[in-house]
């Protein structure tokens, strides 16, 4: 009995520490972004919106945001499309080499992004394709929660399929689309090799800015991203529920 009580206490202590450390970086970023100080003092000596004003004056920011959002949107749409087709094929079809195909399809997720980026860069140089390279790169993040979605469609009649497809698939589309979008927005390792000096994605711009002038402007940009994420998650929670988002 003693042992079990100790285990329960230990479990909740560890969990509290985990939650605290998980939220600490986000809280610190928000606190620094509203600080009047230009060094990262905590707690902020006085409140100020100067870093947000500075962020809005940052000329390079908006093209980077547009580029990142554009890339993320295009690769999310295409990977949802291709991913759904694959998921249906894999769950409803039986064919030789199915296991091998699934292993192949999920393998990009486990491969180092940096290596994929390097390989893509050299490959595209080799075949002379330049235009859509970042979009191409973002697409390697296939989403296989859709397999589960298609599995629920398992044995339905083709006609009923269309009728039930939209309502059944909608939550899966939303969650995998959401994560595909966020992953694509944040894709530093692949995009560092594939963008040029004129076209910077948001993570690349942020890292460069941090190296050149480390001031809380970067905290303001980060806070913007955090708040955006919170809003998106709240909407997703309303639509499908948080439990489903965390469904691994």
């Amino acid at each position: 009995m003693m042992l079990e009580r100790a285990a329960v206490v230990a479990m909740w202590t560890v969990t509290a520490a985990v939650v605290l450390t998980l939220l600490a970086p986000l809280a610190v970023t928000l606190a620094v972004s509203v600080s009047a100080s230009s060094v990262f003092n905590l707690p902020p000596p006085a409140l100020s919106s100067r870093w947000y004003e500075r962020m809005l004056r940052l000329r390079e920011l908006w093209p980077a945001v547009r580029l990142s959002v554009g890339i993320a949107a295009v690769s999310t749409v295409i990977s949802l499309g291709l991913g759904t087709l694959c998921a249906i094929a894999v769950t409803r079809g039986t064919f030789p080499g199915k296991t091998a195909l699934v292993t192949f399809m999920v393998s990009p997720l486990m491969m180092p992004g940096l290596v994929v980026g390097v390989a893509l860069l050299q490959f595209l140089r080799e075949i002379g394709l330049r235009v859509t390279r970042t979009v191409l790169a973002g697409l390697s993040l296939f989403d296989f929660t859709l397999v589960e979605a298609a599995r629920t469609l398992g044995c339905s009649h083709p006609r009923a399929l269309v009728k039930v497809m939209v309502p059944v698939l909608a939550p899966a589309f939303l969650t995998s689309g959401l994560f595909a979008f966020l992953a694509s927005m944040d894709n530093y390792p692949i995009s560092i090799f594939l963008v040029d000096a004129r076209h910077k994605t948001l993570p690349i711009l942020m890292l460069q800015y941090l190296e050149e002038n480390p001031d809380p402007t970067i905290a303001a940009i980060s806070s913007g991203l955090i708040l955006m994420t919170i809003v998106v998650l709240l909407i997703a929670d309303r639509l499908v529920g948080l439990r489903r988002l965390a469904d691994f």
């Binding site: 450390t21 094929a89 399809m105 491969m111 290596v115 893509l120 390697s140 530093y188 942020m206 439990r243």
Partner: protein, 294 residues
């Protein structure tokens, strides 16, 4: 990225499904995706592999010989694997109890815990790594907490040290350990443990003979995921350690972006790739081993 454990378990299921060999038209739906991945993922990697063993039109292992003969390469690989191992271990020790707490919690508490996991997961790694540079400063929050708890007498140097790197990385990767374990813990029937207790099994015995084996698939998925992300992380060491700490990723980025040394870069890339493939294969084999027989 965030759904790899799902893919792991999905894959494990499919591995176990009895193979039936007959081509159905519906299988053709996989063609666009497979074709795309072949072109944008497999072909470039194959090319990279080729480039690492071909020099001036002739096959050679000279690149690997030079790489492996250099003690520096071994330091880099040791750094990579040691830090990744440490990060994975800490994530497991902290994440395993947290996954149980998440499964035991109910209602509002569970929603709050889930939110605390999913929100950091959705925020970009550049944002989080930047926040850790603030947290780890000598007058930062972590140091003040350590002094306050009496763990250290004076603030210690954390930023630009391996401890700081491990701490920051653990934080970024923790949700990827907790969520896969949670997904198996919540499926465990509590009556199994009651049954074991009724049969006179001690708490420790129950944990090692019932709970732990049942959660192994989640543990394997979490470990595989955190480890493979840790060996290939780039943004976190760049921000928290700078250039002094060399990992394979840092070496790869430097040799392509700054040194323009394709030979070292592609050899190091293949090494990193081999580690990643080893993790995938090992986790697939282990998952199959631990899957309850049906």
């Amino acid at each position: 990225v965030s759904t790899a454990p799902a893919s792991l378990s999905a894959r494990a299921d499919l591995v176990l499904a009895p193979p039936r060999r007959r081509l159905q038209p519906v299988a053709l739906l996989a063609l666009p995706g497979a074709g795309y991945l072949a072109l944008a993922f497999a072909a470039p990697l194959a090319l990279l592999l080729m480039a690492s063993v071909i020099s001036e039109g002739r096959p050679t292992l000279a690149g690997y010989r030079t790489f492996l003969a250099d003690p520096f390469s071994w330091t880099v690989m040791a750094n990579t694997i040691r830090s990744a191992g440490l990060i994975t271990l800490i994530c497991l020790v902290a994440g395993y109890p947290a996954a149980f707490a998440l499964a035991r919690a109910a209602g509002l508490l569970q929603a709050a815990l889930l939110a605390a996991l999913v929100l950091p997961l959705s925020v970009g790694v550049v944002v989080k790594a930047f926040a850790w540079t603030i947290l780890l400063r000598s007058d930062g929050v972590v140091n003040r907490a350590l002094v306050g708890l009496g763990a250290v007498d004076a603030p210690v140097r954390l930023l630009f040290t391996e401890s700081g790197l491990v701490l920051g990385a653990v934080n970024v990767f923790l949700p990827f350990m907790v969520l896969p374990i949670f997904s198996v813990v919540k499926l465990i029937d509590p009556r199994l443990l009651d049954a074991a207790a009724t049969l006179g099994s001690s708490p420790l015995h129950r944990f090692f003979r019932v709970t732990l084996p049942l959660t192994m698939p989640g543990v394997i998925a979490g470990v595989a995921f955190v480890f493979s992300m840790s060996v290939s992380m780039y943004v976190i060491p760049t921000l928290l350690m700078g250039d002094r700490f060399k990992t394979l990723s840092v070496l790869i980025a430097r040799s392509f972006l700054f040194m323009r040394d394709r030979s070292v870069g592609s050899t190091a890339s293949v090494m990193l790739l081999l580690i990643a493939v080893a993790v995938v294969v090992a986790s697939a084999l282990l998952t199959r081993r631990w899957q309850p027989s049906r």
